[in-house]
Symmetry: C2
Subunit: 203 residues, 2 copies
């Protein structure tokens, strides 16, 4: 995906994002993280003086940019809202297959592990999901969706994707993300058929 980051702080964030996706927040120790990031142990507390919780918040912020850009990109390069959503589900299938179903969603992982016990981490998860929802909302709005409908549809699409990732990881099968993607695509296409102004074809 992104190039190998050259500075320690970015390497730590990237390693945290990777480890949270695979094994959750609680199981990820700072020693393992500094080793995966190839960053000196002391640099973790240098960059994140608040320790693991602060690091967790920053990792979510990093993930929110990373996947937010991927969602925007799908809407920008696809000719319709349903094609964009379809592309996002297909990319997720590829990511799961390429990682032998190990790479899930870092925001899901932190929500499940720490959303009920750490208010800063819960708030960071909420902001991350909200950011991704905003990306979908913008895509649907540009495709002509009225505001309230764009928001409700965004929430439905992200929910279906997040849940399907869980089911695919557990069963080590692409079927849940593929199946959810088909229904979601159909819902988006049927809603989009009623939108007053469809986005003009891109040059």
């Amino acid at each position: 995906m992104a190039k190998e980051p050259s500075n320690s702080r970015d390497r730590i964030l990237r390693a945290g994002e990777n480890l949270f996706r695979k094994q959750g927040y609680s199981a990820t120790g700072l020693k393992e993280l500094s080793s995966v990031a190839a960053a000196p142990w002391g640099s973790i507390y240098h960059f994140f003086p608040g320790g693991k919780e602060e690091l967790g918040v920053e990792v979510l912020d990093y993930a929110s940019d990373l996947y937010g850009a991927a969602i925007n990109n799908a809407f920008q390069r696809c000719a319709s809202a349903e094609a964009a959503v379809d592309a996002i589900f297909r990319a997720e299938v590829k990511m799961l297959e390429d990682s032998d179903y190990r790479n899930g969603c870092p925001a899901a992982a932190v929500t499940v592990d720490a959303g009920s016990t750490s208010e800063p981490l819960r708030t960071a998860c909420a902001s991350t999901f909200a950011r991704w929802l905003d990306c979908y909302v913008q895509g649907f709005r540009e495709a002509g969706a009225p505001g309230a409908e764009a928001r409700a549809l965004a929430s439905f699409v992200l929910s279906a994707l997040e849940g399907a990732i869980l089911l695919s990881r557990a069963s080590k099968s692409p079927a849940p993300v593929r199946e959810a993607g088909k229904y979601v695509r159909r819902v988006v296409a049927s809603q989009a058929a009623g939108w007053p102004a469809r986005r003009a074809a891109r040059a």
Copy 2:
């Protein structure tokens, strides 16, 4: 939900299910578990000689029965497949509201924490989701759905529910589960309209 179980083993399983839902698998220690279960510390290794991993597998089995029965119950008492699905999403909203958005799904929690690092736990998560899917499939079949469609629809419905629970927990808002529930109900109703034999009205 269920009555307070009288024997230590059941109390341990119930406490495990509760703790996994709130804080995930990794963050749940066996000491905390024995204290919440009001079970002697030694009884955990007595009942689960394989330790935490074995206990985790048994907790998932317990949860698979518990929520499987709830899904079956919704299909049995509702007049249509879409009403059953609607009832399940509404019950989830209530469960989230009643727990201040702390109680998520134990199988989601274990998938995220341990699905990529423990094969026995991943397999147990897969079995739990498969059991719940079977309950939906049976409900849709009894409402007249053809087999393959019942299975794909079940996977879509469970994915949307699981993901919406994550988004609701993070945002401490019922909106994601409510919104996903509306779209899912609409999809189920529209599919059901094409099913050859709708289930006869119950006496």
